[in-house]
């Protein structure tokens, strides 16, 4: 039987140290590669959410352009403490509060409000779109867009 000398023992220690070093290097390399792929997935989810929220904001701005009067009076009615029903109706559109289940899953909601500048003499409306998207990595991502639209108000003629 061959005796293990101290020289042989040193070689074994050296070989094991080298193997450990290569293992650590290799595993950290693999980890960095997998993290990079994950960050691409996160970036895609963020872009999908941004683009969809921007599109919903466009629809909301179209509604405001078409129907500014009902929002103004509904918001003023609420601000004066006279009721919230009209504003609730204005905010309740299914096209602005819904979900997408096509290529990805997302839920979104939209709300309109009036900013009380100059005690409602001006028409300063605020549109808020909140979108929750399930990213490809399975995590939830929220995107919020707030847009203020300013305009002059024409008084009603009796």
């Amino acid at each position: 039987m061959k005796h293990i000398t101290s020289k042989n023992g040193m070689a074994l220690v050296l070989a094991m140290t080298l193997t450990m070093a290569l293992l650590i290097l290799g595993s950290s390399y693999l980890k960095s590669i997998s993290q990079r792929s994950n960050s691409n997935t996160i970036e895609l989810g963020t872009i999908q959410a941004d683009l969809l929220a921007e599109g919903i904001t466009q629809i909301a701005m179209l509604k405001l352009k078409e129907l500014p009067g009902p929002l103004y009076y509904a918001a003023l009615c609420k601000a004066k403490g006279n009721g919230t029903e009209a504003l609730k109706t204005y905010n309740g559109d299914s096209v602005l509060n819904g979900s997408i289940k096509d290529e990805f899953i997302a839920q979104y909601s939209t709300s309109f409000a009036m900013l009380p500048s100059k005690l409602y003499e001006d028409m300063n409306a605020k549109i808020t779109v909140v979108l929750n998207l399930s990213r490809p990595d399975g995590r939830a991502y929220e995107k919020k867009i707030e847009r203020t639209v300013s305009g002059a108000r024409k008084l009603s003629v009796k």
Binding site: E43, I47, N82, S94, S156
Partner: protein
């Protein structure tokens, strides 16, 4: 040493694969943002449109690293129904600065059939010689230049 060299090779392939995916995501983002600022009436309607228009590049797009991406647009009008309550502003009791809940009338709906487009864009390319992969996004484009009723 051979497995280590193999690992390095795998790492290089993964980096190139990542780069191809990043290019596709950037292409998707850039094209969609351009679509959001294109004139509404100049956006074509249809499924899987590959014909370029204005500043929008569709169809097969080659990039310097030799990869060919296929960019397809699906564009359809969607019906939009906007709910609101009418306001009885022409009554004697109506106070312009203090509207009451009784000043509001029935629920009304403004329906627009051709003022919003749903835009779906897909960028696809080939990985590992035959495996097709894709990234896609959805947005909406509203027609702000339509005549208000």
């Amino acid at each position: 040493m051979i497995p280590i060299a193999g690992l390095m090779g795998y790492g290089g392939k993964a980096t190139l694969k990542d780069a191809r995916r990043i290019t596709a995501i950037q292409m998707l983002d850039k094209t969609m943002r351009s679509l959001l600022s294109e004139p509404f009436n100049e956006i074509p309607i249809g499924n899987n449109i590959v014909k370029s228009f204005n500043n929008i590049t569709l169809g097969d797009v080659s990039v310097p690293n030799g990869v060919v991406y296929s960019v397809k647009l699906t564009s359809q009008h969607i019906n939009t129904a906007f709910d609101y309550k009418t306001v009885n502003v022409h009554t004697e009791k109506f106070n312009d600065t203090n509207p009451l809940s009784t000043d509001f009338g029935s629920d009304e709906t403004l329906t627009l059939n051709d003022s919003v487009l749903k835009l779906s864009l897909t960028v696809s390319w080939t990985e590992e010689k035959s495996k097709e992969v894709q990234v896609s996004a959805i947005t909406f484009r509203a027609n702000f230049s339509r005549r208000t009723i």
